[in-house]
Subunit: 560 residues, 2 copies
């Protein structure tokens, strides 16, 4: 924390200042737009862009992360608050800040408890599906703002402005970069130019709106903005607090996931070490900060952080400069903030979320792993059909389901000896000799509750296929851990085999696994021997019924 | 299905008949008691013990499973129905059958979709914690029935009867077996004698109650029982249907888990093949059957199935005989069923659930794996504090949490060459030579979304510790699968290393893993070489910057 300040060198300043300015210019329209997505007055998006990046700079782990409003988290906020208060009402604002406070507290607690591994509950395809589903939901919700009314009724001046802005932004996204590079800008500078297009479009639309007095013609604008930051107001009803518990947990979880994925991308580019627990603490502080200034839930945004990085940010000083500039925008005369036409803001939202409709994960997964591709599609459809909160749960269930489904199909090979050697190989792939009285199985997975049943079934099948078996040898080269459920399963297998007069032997048990097994009754109860190697088992097991014996001190296997 | 009938031999009949009779005598008091736990009139427990075992016999997978009312499922039924109707009211009975119908439909659907792997979502310690928490909840709820009133007020005759029955049952449980063996019975027969104690105690209590006219003295009894089976009644309110969706899912899940764990224990003893999908279908049919006869959710019970097995059951014919006997009990004059004193039934419940307070899993886990022991305790406390429905969810979350937590700590070894050989070993355990320009890491886990971040972090740490590294070799002996998330992570690692002028190489990639990788762009984009063995990587990588090349056809590694 703040170690970067100690190591600050003057050469870093230019980059941080330019990134701070660029991100501020990106943040103003983006913050206002995402406040709109959250069902809040646009100015709240600026409130939520000042203290959060400052606090993240103090406590967070990524150097170039830009923390503030973000589309998906705004959608989740809107989903959480919709049943509790009318969008934009006083109570709605109070509850938005309260939600940020509660999510922040959850994040902070998780960070202090050091349970950053929670981020691993979502697979990448599921995250991609969640993002695609959310992006479509967000875009659909903006159509009526963009057109100034619900289809088939719409407001012609609003729709014209919205669609012109949309086309301008799409043009900028697809062609402006190439034009700027042709005009002589470097690739990075051209890219930053593209990112500032929303600001320019919004400014132009505002100028037009004011010049032609479109507001009088019925084009909605952002509306009156009080100067300065509001303080923290909390609802006194305990029913409201209770209603926000589950949304706060889900929003906290997604805040962390989205921010981690942004931070990871940047950390890879900068070869910097990320700490998921500090990330939790940084995000927790940022959200509490957002609540204290009347904001709403915030997170690290991949698009904004990438611009921050591209514009030269070296340290969190860039974010501090961004925050300072936004604070200045609020204490300066804020009349102009009231005049931004909503259709233009809606156009920036639609184009921003179109950028989230990224299909390369789906394409790769479709070719590489059809199951992952189906999980991606199911999550996207789940978000669209059941909403973003259910989508988080669907995502976790599908990630875990894929994991358990795969675990329930462990690879198990029947081994035989390559004649004349001490090598044992899968008899399906190699010509290898076997003994009718002995069955050797290599289990190619760690043993845990998710696969014990499948392993058991496979062993029973193999014993049925090899009815003359007197001795079963489990070759444990690939087993790095055995959990309590698997320990029980092994004990029960041992007991059952003993009843049927079949010896159970282990071979090539790794050192750490053997150390752990010694803390149980299993080695003492074993109806056979623990052999150092498969070759020793092959030599050591006579065709007679097994004799119980055990090595005193198994040596770590070669694999360790 | 019914294959057992084709293979039926006359020698099996004696065992099936005796088991059928014994289980029927066990089922009458148990069914009535568990109906009481579910908040239903005791006779409903008998309704739920006739069609379900019959249908399970037709469709289920286990030969000796006894399907019927079960304590935990009854508790879950009571929990689900309590907010919807007054216990024992007409609506309550209708909703209980409806819940069985919905759970049955869920089970049947899961079986037809062949998603029996769902049973793997609960680890064994978590299941043990869930059982312990539920047993305590059930026992606590029976105290007021046993004493004929809430403490400190209780009804003296009821309390005397309840406590005497309790002591008699505890005596039977702890000493009757030894006494019967001393009297010359074989161990199995003695054990069956113990299991019939509840029947004897209830009969004795009923005789006493009738003889002394205790009912007039205020000792509650089971109450009037209509002869014959009721039909199916369903609530017409869609709000009721919707309210039962989540409980039906949770009850379906636990029904399956409990029944599978009973069936597995028996399958191990009988060396019989279990099919989790047929188990789902059998349980689904059983629950729909329960609904059709005005019953409530049922499952396979481990204690009853064990008695069935011990009393000689060879095939599902035993269950068919049990069902026939219970049906006879209902069509015969049922006046006697009305006279059973509730305190005696409560005593049988308390003693039955005391048997579920089995602490050996906790003891084993405490010694073997403290994390699993903590998950067990947390689940038990969760059930006690938040109820049995929340307990199911806590159990899944803790099982998955343990899994992801472990996955987020993969074992990774820095390898060196044992001088003069082609063997590569963990440098922390073996004296092995390394090269300053080359880092060899062996990843001892399948790569998937749960550990990619940890693997990435470890690689970055090692690169920071070995700043002269020009080439990184990942030795993949222990990697049996790479999911889409890990594929992306590897691609990003490759890109990041390329930017820093470090070559990324793979060695000893297993055949099936390589086959899959070829369906992706990764091999073509790789900033280095895929080597057959670690030794070939050691020899093949020059200190110069890596040259991109790739073997056309990697041969399966020796591990396959």
């Amino acid at each position: 924390m703040l170690e970067w300040l100690r190591r600050y060198r003057r050469a870093m300043l230019a980059g941080d200042v330019s990134a701070g300015i660029v991100v501020a210019m990106m943040m103003i329209p983006q913050g206002m737009a995402y406040a709109l997505v959250a069902g809040l007055p646009p100015v709240v998006g600026i409130y939520a862009s000042i203290l959060p990046p400052l606090l993240y700079a103090l406590f967070g782990s990524s150097m170039t992360q830009s923390v503030g409003p973000m589309a998906i988290i705004s959608l989740m906020t809107a989903t959480a608050l919709a049943p509790l208060a009318a969008s934009g009402s006083g109570l709605y604002l109070v509850l938005a800040a309260q939600l940020a406070l509660m999510s922040g507290a959850v994040l902070l607690a998780c960070g202090l408890l050091r349970i950053g591994f929670l981020a691993n509950f979502f697979s990448r395809p599921v995250m991609s599906g969640f993002t695609i589903g959310s992006a479509i939901l967000i875009a659909l919700a903006q159509v009526k703002v963009l057109l100034g009314g619900e289809l088939p009724d719409f407001h012609v001046p609003s729709a014209v402005m919205g669609l012109v802005c949309l086309l301008a932004l799409l043009f900028a996204r697809n062609y402006l970069g190439a034009l700027l590079r042709k005009a002589g800008l470097r690739a990075t500078a051209a890219d930053i130019g593209v990112r500032l297009a929303p600001m320019l479009v919004v400014v132009a639309a505002t100028a037009l709106s004011v010049g032609l007095d479109l507001q009088a013609g019925g084009v909605a604008t952002t509306g009156a903005v009080p100067a300065g930051l509001p303080g923290l107001n909390l609802a006194t009803s305990s029913a409201h607090w209770r209603a926000l518990v589950q949304p706060a947990l889900l929003i906290g979880f997604m805040t962390f996931l989205i921010s981690m994925s942004a931070a990871q991308t940047l950390a890879l580019k900068r070869q910097e070490k990320l700490n998921s627990n500090y990330e939790l603490i940084g995000l927790g502080a940022a959200n509490i900060g957002s609540a204290l200034t009347g904001g709403f839930p915030v997170t690290g945004s991949i698009s904004r952080s990438a611009v921050n990085f591209a514009a030269g940010a070296n340290t969190p000083l860039a974010s501090i400069i961004t925050a300072a500039l936004l604070a200045t925008a609020l204490v300066a005369p804020t009349g102009w903030l009231a005049l931004l036409p909503l259709p233009a803001l809606a156009a920036t939202i639609v184009v921003a979320v179109l950028g989230m409709l990224e299909l390369s994960t789906l394409r790769t997964a479709w070719r590489y792993d059809r199951g992952d591709a189906m999980a991606l599609l199911a999550t996207a459809v789940g978000v669209l059909a059941m909403g973003v909160e259910a989508g988080v749960i669907i995502g976790v269930v599908l990630s875990m389901g894929t994991l358990i489904w795969r675990a329930s199909r462990p690879h198990i090979a029947v081994l035989g000896r390559i004649a004349g050697t001490e090598h044992f190989r899968n008899i399906e792939r190699y010509p290898a000799e076997t003994r009718a009285d002995m069955l050797m199985l290599r289990i190619d997975a760690n043993l845990f509750f998710g696969n014990v049943e499948a392993v058991n079934q496979r062993i029973e099948d193999e014993l049925r296929n090899h009815p003359e078996t007197r001795n079963l040898v489990l070759v444990m080269t690939a087993v790095s851990s055995i959990d309590t459920s698997a320990l029980f399963a092994l004990s029960e297998l041992n007991q059952s085999l003993r009843q049927h007069g079949i010896g159970l032997h282990l071979a090539e048990v790794k050192g750490p696994v053997m150390d752990r097994l010694k803390d149980s009754d299993f080695p003492a109860a074993l109806n056979g021997t623990i052999f150092l190697s498969a070759a020793m088992a092959w030599e050591g097991i006579s065709s007679a019924l097994p004799i119980r014996e055990m090595h005193d001190e198994p040596v770590p296997s070669p694999a360790d």
